[in-house]
Symmetry: C2
Subunit: 214 residues, 2 copies
DNA sequence: ATCAGTATTTACAGAACTGTCAACAAGGTT
DNA sequence: AACCTTGTTGACAGTTCTGTAAATACTGAT
């Protein structure tokens, strides 16, 4: 009845991915039904299999698209933070944390990761570490790369944790609604003000004397 | 053929929960099939429904049991850290982080949380904050409770992040296998050595002067 | 020992979902 | 205009899973 205007493969795939992303954000990857995606995208469900091969193929494509978009947002935010003047560093750093995983999208990304979806995490993370190290060097020139590594890991883990459980933990700790952004700003400033020598622990001393005597 | 020795309801429930926990750790809550649980527990699947009402009831019971066990472990670890002597603080603090979410169990717990399972998070978190504040006061007596709140939030989020994505991020950053525990020790020492005044940011100053002129 | 209660099982009903197949339709190409 | 490629669809097959129902077996109490 309705006109079936044939879309180009790219258009069709994008429309399907848009619909799938909305659903995954709500119900998680395991709850995604291709019939629901088809309904939201306004088509019959075999069309989705035609474009993505299978339900799993759709989930992998979606995970990749979300990962690429997130990486692009994060790297752009870090770049602007690198170029920011000294008095604007804290705000720019906060911006980095804010754009890393905006809202429910990040939650869905982590969820998909748990469910085994593929994504090009490795290359992305190394790019992020490099940029972060540039950013740290704009604050203290003798910044240690190993410390940057660990700080990036800490921030990344905290961000992952926040998008997963941030809401619940915030409520459990009695934080007000707007304190979630406040927490990110607090974390950003602390990270910037951490002197590099404070990141060297006694463990590093032990670690710098490996016991290689065979 | 095999003797069907009738267990007490408690024994049966425990056996089922044990089997379910092993499976959830592997495949996540969405992938849990009560037939698989029954097979691992050595019984027929309707018996599980008889004891838990439904598949969802089983998942909720499991989430509660895991949450209670984790809370117990964490609070005990913090208590010993409170009583630890000064030179043993760092090691005790590391122990707290290590016992918080041991391995795959924590991953499953977060996964279940994402899938909407109920758990008594709120009461547990407040108890943990109180103990953590006691621990901080053994290091610096004038520790601010608000800072403890934020630190607990940071650590909790980082731990959640680690159990969820720690493996992948570690690999992406090129960390060796044993550096995962190393990261926790590093974080523990940093947390203990953070002076309280360094946790006060310019935001707190702004925040203490609210703009209420209407 | 008999009986009541319930833990346990076998068989089955019902629903939901993925993927297949054949047919149709739209859009560009010759 | 005829045609070919392919996006699109309706109907269907097959599988898998949850929950139900009735029968059975174990255990403790009287």
């Amino acid at each position: 009845m309705a006109k079936k205007t044939h879309k180009s493969p790219e258009q069709a795939r994008d429309a399907i991915l848009d619909a799938a992303e909305q659903i995954v954000v709500q119900v998680g990857p395991a709850g995604l039904r291709i019939s629901a995606v088809a309904k939201k995208a306004g088509m019959a469900h075999p069309n989705i299999i035609h474009h993505f091969g299978s339900r799993e193929g759709l989930l992998n494509s979606l995970a990749n698209r979300m990962g690429e978009r997130a990486t692009h947002r994060i790297t752009e935010a870090i770049k602007t933070a690198v170029d920011a003047p000294a008095q604007g560093k804290a705000a720019a750093m906060t911006q980095v944390l804010d754009t890393a995983y905006p809202g429910d999208e990040g939650r869905a990304a982590v969820w998909m990761h748990l469910s085994g979806a593929e994504s090009s995490l490795k290359e992305n993370m190394q790019q992020i570490v490099e940029l972060s190290h540039q950013l740290r060097k704009t604050v203290s020139e003798d910044a240690d790369l190993e410390h940057t590594n660990r700080l990036v890991m800490l921030v990344t883990l905290a961000l992952v944790g926040e998008v997963v459980s941030g809401q619940g933990i915030k409520e459990a700790l009695g934080f007000a609604e707007d304190n979630r952004a406040h927490f990110r700003a607090w974390l950003a400033e602390i990270l910037l003000n951490l002197p590099d020598d404070q990141l060297s622990t006694s463990l590093d001393i032990n670690h710098s004397i490996p016991q290689n005597h065979k």
